[in-house]
């Protein structure tokens, strides 16, 4: 049962070494803005061809796990998500680092990533075949509503400037339309320029809108980038552990949400972390602290995005449908190896590969704890300790090479810098980057879902009906409405309770 006999296979010295190397390589690559998990796996795929399938899968899984966690460093320390999955980690991670809690934030991210990774892997081990069908429950209409649900997060991240947030998000949605349209094939907003043909890559958008403004302001002032608090406080592991204990429901909920989002082929780590962030904020008794350095925010996003690793593997291995973008690369590598995916991979006869891999994934995730803490400590020290004249050019150089490497394109670098200048300027006018990025990420999902849903609806009945029928659709719409109306509801409640004491007073850690 559960292929327990394969635990031994997962801990051979060679495979242990692969897990270790994979997690280290993934963490380092993921920390560099522009080098996403997808990229990290794609460049290392040729290495796996000489291995047996279980080891190949294990190496790719370890890199994937490490890269998703590594993305948090840049998010926390530089306000730049190292991978798209870490986008929501910037919301609270950077404010924490700004006030001198960067070390704590990195450690928290590590703990949360391990928890999320373990939950995702457990789902893969115990529930893969039945859960795989979640992947099929979502059609175009449901993806459309999921994107709309994601957009409700605007109200949370526009820092009291709702209208500006809405304008920014619409602008982000518009930016997502640039280039050759995926469905209709028509070039849009390219102004006959080859540079814009490929559209605005989400990753170059992230780097441009988040990292360049930080650099621009960093270079303009002599102060240090991050606060340094006199004495070294080690990993602050005990403190982080305490926070995880008090936030255990948040961690668990976010991990489950991450796993489920990972299973959906149209979503991925970025959506997972955004969704669990918004849920954590809603469930919190202090939603007003979110976005200002709330540890629960980091725990939610980092556990969710690492849970997508195991979650995304579920449809990949059971149905041959990649759950997340990196899974597509892994699936391709498996096909080249001649492995056919399917439920029989989980049967006792065909279990050798999958169970060895899953137990290996558990081990890789656990290895991430010491590795992640160590690398995180080092990353934190370098960012804090480097003199400005070294830090700024190094980061600028990394944004350039990272953006270039997305698809070996200088055009992407130019777009990235251009977006950065624009983002900086818009920030001066009061338009924050996060809503724009939200639009950029959710735009394609919303558009494809809408157009395809409409076409299918028109063919089989009435399109409007198609957008409002089915329990799942109604459920997502209800959730969307709830999330829109919830703040109003809370306000009402607060008003009613006013006089019983001021409980919204922000407290410190």
């Amino acid at each position: 049962m559960l292929g327990l006999e394969y635990v031994v296979d997962a801990v051979t010295p060679f495979r242990l070494m692969l897990s270790l190397a994979g997690v280290v390589a993934g963490t380092v690559l993921g920390a560099i803005p522009g080098l996403t998990a997808t990229m990290a796996i794609a460049v290392l795929v040729p290495l796996t061809f000489s291995m047996d399938p279980a080891s190949a899968l294990l190496l790719m899984g370890a890199i994937y796990t490490g890269a998703i966690y590594g993305g948090a460093y840049a998010a926390i320390l530089l306000n730049t998500p190292g991978t798209p999955s870490a986008i929501a980690t910037t919301f609270d991670g950077y404010p924490m680092a700004k006030r001198g809690d960067g070390d704590l934030a990195v450690t928290l991210a590590c703990l949360a990533s391990v928890v999320g990774g373990l939950v995702g892997a457990a789902a893969l081990l115990l529930l893969a075949p039945p859960l795989a069908h979640v992947a099929l429950a979502f059609g175009p209409v449901q993806y459309f509503w999921l994107a709309i649900f994601g957009l409700t997060l605007i109200s949370a991240i526009s820092e009291g400037q709702l209208i500006k947030g809405l304008i920014g998000a619409s602008f982000g949605l518009l930016l997502s339309c640039v280039g050759v349209a995926p469905i209709s094939g028509a070039p849009r907003f390219t102004f006959d320029s080859a540079t814009l043909l490929g559209g605005i890559n989400v990753v170059s958008g992230l780097i441009g809108l988040y990292c360049i403004p930080v650099l621009i302001d960093l270079v303009a002032r002599p102060e240090r980038h991050l606060e340094v608090t006199g004495e070294s406080r080690g990993f602050r592991l005990r403190e982080a552990f305490g926070l995880c204990c008090t936030g255990k429901f948040n961690l668990l909920r976010s991990s489950v949400l991450g796993t489920l989002t990972g299973i959906l082929p149209g979503a991925g780590g970025s959506i997972a972390s955004l969704v669990s962030y918004s849920e954590a904020r809603r469930a919190s008794r202090h939603p007003e602290r979110f976005g200002k350095g709330e540890p629960n925010g980091i725990q939610a996003t980092e556990s969710a995005n690492n849970a997508t690793v195991g979650g995304g593997m579920i449809p990949t291995l059971v149905l041959g449908i990649p759950g997340t973008p990196p899974d597509a690369v892994i699936l391709g590598a498996l096909l080249v190896q001649g492995i056919h995916t399917g439920p029989e991979l989980f049967s006792s006869a065909g279990g050798a590969i999958v169970y060895t891999f899953i137990y290996g994934l558990f081990i890789a995730t656990l290895l991430m704890l010491p590795i992640g803490l160590l690398i995180g400590r080092y990353a934190f020290r370098s960012i804090v300790g480097f003199p400005k004249a070294v830090l700024v050019p190094v980061v600028a150089f990394m944004t350039i090479i990272g953006t270039y490497a997305i698809r070996n394109s200088v055009a992407d670098v130019v777009i990235m810098i251009g977006l950065g200048i624009m983002g900086w300027g818009l920030d001066r006018l009061g338009f924050k980057p996060s809503p724009i990025v939200l639009g950029l990420i959710l735009g394609p999902i919303a558009e494809q879902g809408f157009v395809q849903g409409w076409m299918i609806g028109s063919a089989t009945g009435h399109p409007v009906v198609a957008f409002f029928s089915g329990p799942l659709t109604i459920g997502i719409i209800a959730l969307t409405l709830f999330s829109l109306l919830y703040p109003l509801l809370i306000k009402r409640l607060r008003k009613a309770r006013k006089g019983t004491g001021d409980e919204s007073k922000p407290s410190h850690l």
């Binding site: 518009l174 028509a186 302001d217 303009a220 002599p222 700024v392």
Partner: protein, 159 residues
């Protein structure tokens, strides 16, 4: 620091400016879609443009009616340094296909380093800082070009 500071922008003139600009962007975007025939390609951008210009108009009206919630602050710090950083990055990106990756990256590194220098140039710093640049650029060059086999732009000069 924000709300009632004399230099703060109480009527959110910056926001109004931004909103007007977004309305302009919307108009250009709409115009550029005129040639696209396929309905499925047009519908989503049209909805988005309408939303964007609608919200922008709302912001303008709100600000004119004096209900502005301003929080914009003037940028502090050195403008030349900002421009220097951006110039360095642009130069690197545009020069890359012509003079190669290593040369342009190193050039940009040195420019940006000079721009970001707030300490005094001591002989030690003068030696160590540029060397750190060389080390970083060559390390990444090795990692990408040799290990990952990412084809970096090669120009007339080395790399």
């Amino acid at each position: 620091m924000k709300a009632n500071h004399p230099t703060s922008d109480r009527n959110d003139i910056r926001g109004t400016l931004g909103a007007l600009m977004f309305i302009g962007v919307g108009a250009i975007a709409w115009w550029s879609m005129l040639g696209v025939g396929s309905a499925s390609a047009v519908i989503f951008p049209h909805v988005v443009i309408l939303l964007m210009t609608g919200f922008s108009a709302l912001l303008v009206v709100r600000n004119l009616l004096g209900h502005a919630a301003s929080e914009a602050r003037a940028p502090r710090g050195s403008v030349p340094r900002r421009l220097g950083l951006l110039a360095g990055m642009f130069v690197a990106a545009l020069a890359m296909p012509h003079i190669g990756f290593v040369t342009s990256a190193l050039g940009a590194y040195l420019i940006i380093m000079a721009v970001a220098m707030y300490e005094r140039w001591t002989p030690l710093r003068l030696a160590v800082y540029p060397l750190s640049g060389l080390a970083v650029v060559l390390l990444f060059y090795y990692l990408f070009d040799i290990v990952f086999k990412v084809p970096l732009p090669a120009g007339s000069l080395f790399g």
